[in-house]
């Protein structure tokens, strides 16, 4: 039903005379880039996965749970997730110097917040679960690909979870809402320009665990964006599910 409503909106977008009438790579507004996913790609890890969305490739590995008693923990009855996200130096055009940077720090944290709600940390008191995410090739939507890979790696590692988490970057190019933004779209400058909204949905409750905004968006358009994200994440969940079921 929601999809029907959204198709109406796409019609409206064309009537609205948005400057972004067709996507640069020919996709439909609600169409995702080609996706491939596989688990068990890092033999040493307890769980691992690789997730490619178009030209963006993310790899994630999970180690744990392991014994961990941090000094200032609010709730010792719960385990903790430690997420580290990093881009490889050659994943982008202009080389990224290896080492810590502020963008990675922020993304590590929002990724942790995106995954925490589903991981049953009460079942793992006094422990830490380490999640390592690396971007091998970047073409927008890297934090989302990272979350998709990490969620699969967590499940693969046998961490108890209430649900899967699926993420996608929804965009607004001038007046048009699209799902799964690519780099060219991110750089779109005509009219109202590009707005980038990475978001993540829990697979079985339509609840949002990641939500960020880079750009500006009208409040009524924003609701459309949330709907677009929800539909896209459902599709991504199916792919994550298939990859786990095909694990060797």
């Amino acid at each position: 039903m929601a999809e029907g409503k959204w198709r109406e909106k796409i019609k409206m977008a064309k009537e609205e005379k948005s400057l972004y009438k067709e996507r640069v790579d020919g996709r439909k507004f609600d169409e995702l880039r080609p996706i491939s996913a596989k688990v068990g790609v890092v033999p040493n890890a307890d769980g691992s996965a690789i997730f490619s969305q178009g030209d963006t490739i993310a790899i994630a590995a999970v180690y744990g749970p392991k014994i961990f008693h941090p000094k200032n923990q609010q709730n010792p009855e719960k385990g903790v997730l430690r997420v580290h996200y990093g881009m490889l130096s050659f994943s982008v055009g202009e080389r990224i110097r290896p080492g810590l940077n502020r963008r990675s720090q922020e993304i590590s944290k929002v990724t942790e917040w995106a995954l925490n709600p589903v991981v049953m940390l009460d079942e793992l008191p006094g422990t830490a679960v380490d999640i390592h995410i690396n971007i091998i090739q970047a073409n927008a939507g890297t934090r989302c690909a990272g979350i998709n890979a990490a969620a699969m790696a967590l499940a693969h590692a046998g961490i108890p979870m209430k649900s899967m988490v699926s993420a996608v970057a929804v965009g607004k190019m001038d007046k048009t809402i699209v799902a799964d933004v690519n780099k060219e779209e991110e750089d779109f400058e005509e009219g109202e320009g590009a707005t980038d909204m990475p978001m993540a949905y829990l697979s079985n409750s339509d609840k949002i665990s990641l939500l960020q905004l880079d750009g500006r968006i009208q409040t009524d358009k924003f609701k459309e964006a949330l709907e677009a994200g929800k539909e896209a994440c459902k599709k991504i969940f199916e792919i994550q599910k298939k990859a786990l079921k095909e694990a060797e």
Binding site: K66, I67, S163
Partner: protein, 231 residues
């Protein structure tokens, strides 16, 4: 996958997946019930019986249970016993008084030193603290001096042991090796020579590669025959 192939494999589910519906069905291990739906909380295999649906995990840490026989590594010597690593985030302890005979504190290291592997029994579990015992040696408890250890995911252990020990017996007979399976994963293989031991290890790895198949026993017997099994 063709339906025939599907029939040979058990149903794998992932966290958040709805696996059964019905007012009367009870949520078993690693599931939760929301309204009428039974939802999986793990990556695992569905086990549906009349009234109960549960998920058998395919991966994850070992959950220590009283009475389990486990294979642990001596991590450290403490005042009156040994700290043992049984895998996962647990603190396992083997007290001196839980060992048969009388051991002086000064002798402790010669009995079990750091890095030694022991076959030991779980006597009690309190959250992440696990108490071990070496009493009742007739269970095959004691130090591992030689042989081969295969590290196995604890969730595969039931398949390696088989119904009432049937699977492990098949391998023992075919390879001429003594095989002790720790509930926490490690499998200890002891034979007369390295060749036999390596053969048994390959057999164990074959089981692991095919855990989700039906008719595993026949497959294993075939494999053993084809690869030089003794029986």
């Amino acid at each position: 996958m063709t339906p025939k192939e599907k029939a040979g494999k058990r149903e794998i589910v992932i966290p958040g997946e709805i696996i059964a519906g019905g007012e009367d069905i009870l949520p078993g291990d690693w599931t939760t019930k929301e309204g009428k739906n039974i939802i999986s909380l793990r990556f695992g295999i569905v086990d549906k019986s009349d009234r109960l649906t549960k998920v058998i995990p395919l991966s994850g840490v070992y959950i220590p249970r009283r009475g389990n026989i486990v294979i642990g590594e001596i991590r450290d010597l403490a005042m009156s016993g040994w700290m043992v690593d049984i895998g996962g985030p647990y603190s396992a302890f083997l007290a001196l008084r839980e060992c048969p005979g009388f051991i002086e504190e000064s002798e402790m290291e010669t009995v079990y030193g750091i890095g030694d592997l022991i076959v030991v029994k779980i006597s009690d579990v309190k959250r992440t603290a696990v108490d071990l015992t070496m009493k009742h040696r007739e269970n095959g408890l004691g130090k591992i001096n030689d042989g081969l250890i295969v590290r196995v995911n604890p969730h595969r252990v039931p398949r390696i042991i088989g119904k009432e020990g049937s699977m492990v017996k098949i391998i023992r007979d075919a390879t001429n090796c003594m095989i002790t399976v720790g509930q926490n994963g490690p499998v200890w293989i002891k034979g007369d020579n390295i060749k036999d031991q390596l053969f048994a290890e390959k057999a164990i790895n074959f089981i692991i590669a095919n855990t989700t198949s039906d008719g595993l026993t026949e497959k294993v017997e075939e494999w053993l025959k084809a690869n030089g099994g003794k029986k």
